[in-house]
Symmetry: C2
Subunit: 114 residues, 2 copies
DNA sequence: ATAATCGTCAACCAAATGGTTAAATATGGA
DNA sequence: TCCATATTTAACCATTTGGTTGACGATTAT
């Protein structure tokens, strides 16, 4: 079973898809316009957009014959939070702290006479 | 050409590898001990560790016959920063802001007489 | 010296990925 | 109605991915 975070990281792993997200930062875009700067078929871009959509990173809405792509930053936030919370745990990694202490104060050192 | 950030996001896309990273948060571990909780061959875990290593997310050091795996949180930070800076740009997305304004103040409204 | 442990490597496999081209489906405009 | 535009779908292809098993090299223990 593929979780949402699996889909988000997998989507972000491709440079074309990250570029698309950056483009959408500027403004909502039609599929054709998204495809324009890339040296790749429209069908390929359409697939990339499908992957971004399934990951929840963008949404697509059809108005008339053009389908508009819109950034959905909340989805990105989920993965970002995973990483940041990871950093939080890292900050309180007791073992690393203990190792640090053991280097500062070698365990066999005797302070009882000082 | 695969950039470091490609490798990092691809590495994070697999739940087994994310689990391994969480385990390494606790302490450095031998390959065999990393593999233990997983219902998967040692060789498979060895491959996952190789992918994490190439992404720079962990490092491996062989002491005697055991190879120790160690978390390298700096690498994660690169991808985290990509996402966060993305959020920064989003915060100053002028077009979205303009759209917000246009909803609050319909453009054909006439304030000249008030 | 022999045996057990730690880990990788090679060969293989099925499924997923990222691309192509060509045809099909809407929808909009003349 | 007929043509052009916008986008997806289908079929295909090469490569990558995530897993397996079995053999192997290196190290440690008996």
């Amino acid at each position: 079973m593929e979780t949402q975070i699996d889909l988000i990281f997998a989507a972000l792993a491709d440079p074309t898809r990250r570029d698309i997200l950056v483009m959408l930062l500027e403004d909502d875009m039609a599929v054709t316009d998204v495809a324009d700067p890339f040296d790749m078929s429209l069908a390929a871009i359409s697939k990339h957009l499908g992957i971004l959509t399934r990951a929840g990173l963008i949404s697509q809405e059809k108005r008339g014959r053009v389908k508009w792509c819109k950034l959905e930053p909340d989805a990105m936030r989920d993965a970002s939070i995973w990483m940041q919370s990871f950093g939080q745990f890292e900050a309180v990694n007791l073992d690393a702290f203990e190792e640090f202490l053991s280097k500062e104060l070698p365990p066999d050192q005797d302070f009882s006479q000082t």
